[in-house]
Symmetry: D3
Subunit: 193 residues, 6 copies
Amino acid sequence: MSAPISRYPVPSLESLPEDIRARILAVQEKAGFVPNVFITLAHRPDEFRAFFAYHDALMEKEGGLTKAEREMIVVATSGANDCLYCIVAHGAILRIYAKNPLVADQVAVNHRKADITPRQKAMLDFALKVALASKEIGDEDFASLKVHGFTDEDAWDIGAIAAFFALSNRMANLIAMRPNDEFFLMGRVPRQK
Amino acid sequence: MSAPISRYPVPSLESLPEDIRARILAVQEKAGFVPNVFITLAHRPDEFRAFFAYHDALMEKEGGLTKAEREMIVVATSGANDCLYCIVAHGAILRIYAKNPLVADQVAVNHRKADITPRQKAMLDFALKVALASKEIGDEDFASLKVHGFTDEDAWDIGAIAAFFALSNRMANLIAMRPNDEFFLMGRVPRQK
Amino acid sequence: MSAPISRYPVPSLESLPEDIRARILAVQEKAGFVPNVFITLAHRPDEFRAFFAYHDALMEKEGGLTKAEREMIVVATSGANDCLYCIVAHGAILRIYAKNPLVADQVAVNHRKADITPRQKAMLDFALKVALASKEIGDEDFASLKVHGFTDEDAWDIGAIAAFFALSNRMANLIAMRPNDEFFLMGRVPRQK
Amino acid sequence: MSAPISRYPVPSLESLPEDIRARILAVQEKAGFVPNVFITLAHRPDEFRAFFAYHDALMEKEGGLTKAEREMIVVATSGANDCLYCIVAHGAILRIYAKNPLVADQVAVNHRKADITPRQKAMLDFALKVALASKEIGDEDFASLKVHGFTDEDAWDIGAIAAFFALSNRMANLIAMRPNDEFFLMGRVPRQK
Amino acid sequence: MSAPISRYPVPSLESLPEDIRARILAVQEKAGFVPNVFITLAHRPDEFRAFFAYHDALMEKEGGLTKAEREMIVVATSGANDCLYCIVAHGAILRIYAKNPLVADQVAVNHRKADITPRQKAMLDFALKVALASKEIGDEDFASLKVHGFTDEDAWDIGAIAAFFALSNRMANLIAMRPNDEFFLMGRVPRQK
Amino acid sequence: MSAPISRYPVPSLESLPEDIRARILAVQEKAGFVPNVFITLAHRPDEFRAFFAYHDALMEKEGGLTKAEREMIVVATSGANDCLYCIVAHGAILRIYAKNPLVADQVAVNHRKADITPRQKAMLDFALKVALASKEIGDEDFASLKVHGFTDEDAWDIGAIAAFFALSNRMANLIAMRPNDEFFLMGRVPRQK
């Protein structure tokens, strides 16, 4: 009864272009397994390269947001878009970065009640408005971020992560991407060192 | 009373990395002007590169969809997301590719009443479901496409374009990207050679 | 592949009652063509008379709103209702009245980003609330208009135009009224004298 | 604590143009009181004339719909638009025409559960789609009406009544039109001759 | 054409457990008839007992809300949920408790325009937010109640009544519970003693 | 930064009526801790008693649904209502009953993609319609259940569980009920005996 990891053909590692195979092997080395987003999107090599270049440009850059905060944005907006893969996989990463086994489930369901700072709540308010009603974004939204010390460049980061996962959530839902079983438990057990 | 082209600083061409400047000059050469999406997104070079790599992978690839059909997807989903830049700029491109001065406005407002084929209506039904309710995409949606001769790879193309412009629409709304004045008229006058 | 101008029979000019034919000929004289709203609604003479009497009472009266502002209300609320005929036909009229080739597309998609005054944005906020959530109209909405110098009679004008086009948009969608090709280009070329 | 009958000035009968006064006196003669829609809309004589001309053209014409059925459309769509005046005033008229003290409350809340015929349910399905999602009206909706014996002209009647009360509901909400106390009880007591 | 009172079998009084029969007979004694909610829910005795125990705990307790105010909450939230049984039956009770033949219809459609106090409007704003968007309830909502003198315990009462009728409305809609004819007229005639 | 378990005072076990204390001690005995729903709702003893009587009548009765299926309904509808407490606490119970560490997260986000049977998907379709659009429940929904072998009594069970958690979700959101930390991990580790 367990569903396949993608509605589309999943390539074998050997069949992939060298750069993509190298990237996937590096991830496997680090994580201990290959997250399904890599191997399922590799069905389209050019799109794969652009997707991860974009991802890295947003998630691994320097700036005013911590890595855990970037993942909070992913989890909160994926929750609003009901994307199982992104909630589960990025929820795991958020738990690890935040060293907090509870925050991912909280943020995915209702950031208003999560154990996060008022500054982080303002960040997620902005991200969710970009995700759900970007037409209505205006000066007052940027002003609400400034109250908490976010710069305009931070606002771009927040909004761009929400925008990128608008794409990512839709791709995962389109191909029925299945989260790896490993993600469900990662970061939940306190002493996971 | 006319708004700036972006809420963010707009770089000068000279200040840009060589590859980005070259890309922009090439577009200017072809179009006769620099579409604002290029110069405004160049504020973030790494994101610029990923954005256009992704765009090209989807919009310039071979496949079962014509160039005009790809632009229809952009215009219809951007209409649903109320993104002025994308409706106006891609509406212009659609008019030119389709050699039809009316179709862009029709598709942006209500594809059900547009002068397009039943096959194209089914394509836009699928694209709009990915744009607005990707959680609910299921076997029956792929089956509806098959009735009109679309393959699974065509379905990926349709859905991925809708997903990419989910990102693009949100970025344009986030930075208040302004369409170039030139786009509003392009492709409307029959004999525009 | 081009659709008919109405789902219903379209009367010949000769078959129409004298007063209706006269009105249509006068419009044709002025515009150079017969806008489809006239000839398609003439299928029902009594409703035609009431429709245009109402239209004229709202759109050609004296008052605190300019003719261009009245058309802005039509275009913004028709955009919210996704009515192709009204967006295209009244968009043309708005471009001409405002002597501005861009404003109609801007207002139809997102008045928050349009090249209009803060007073006009407040006017369209009010109009859109009447169009979309009239149940919630209250003292605070009238107060927001007063800040910009609108009187209670101006508020009636704004709300009544939004209400009338709530009817008009639904009639156009009901009968699948098609905009005349002429409207798509009108007012877009600067020197159209 | 009882609210005024309109947010706007209410004219005295004597101050009104002769034709409007005559119409109002005739209604008063028949109903025993002046329904507030007449005296509150008389604040704007030209709009008053067009409003009631339109109303009469739709509600008093011959055709495939009974008078009770026309009022059902008014009550069902006014329920969907949360317009107190129209639900209460036309609910009273519906009870009288249908000689049924229960049907108005049923139809205002949920026509699916009302004591009406399957044909009337199909009629109200169509009317509510025009009221709430006219953009999506298509061939299949006309076909659903035909199954129950409705002609295309009946479909125009149904849709046009829904469209006219889209206007009427918004005007009543705009001016905070208050239903006359008399309407609440009318047609509820079996023997009200 | 009149629908049955429930989609499910309706037990005879004699077939019911003693405590349930006693409760129903007591209601009949007081009201003069058996409201359908009693006899239809008696199909499931254990759920019946819990339902009415919950109802009584909320509706018959002491506290800062009058009985009429508790019924206002029921009618307003049942209006938002489109539950015919609860609007009609509790509307009747509200008219009687409030000694006001108009208030129930007003509150069911739009409490903003009802003849109630500003304090009662704030109470219904809170109740409707619990009914429709409980996820968003926060400190600011409790603060809005305090402005009008409501305590935190009053807030629990308001929210719990809205929550209980979220259940009740769904049960009534699930089983297609029909309001007794008697309710439609109760409390409408001023001198009904 | 960790929020309290309720917005309201939480009673000490000793201060509670004997029957409520006994119930809570029994749960603690079995679970190893006191789930917060017990101790926070005990703030109102009468409502507590009715709440758990209702809960037990629905969740512990015999019938066509397994215990795991009942919990699926809770988790799916609580997901739709964004209720953190119910998703987390009942998600834990579902994982244990179903002996499946993945199913709770799947069902909370999107039951269409969960590893459940087509019969269970039909069950959740029905439950979600009761939760979100009970007004529209009709014969066709009962027919869809019958296709999968569900009886009318099963349909009552499904709908009543969805209705009860419509109440429960709103109460939890109203008082900001916090899930116990223990629930987040329960049932996730295969061999958790």
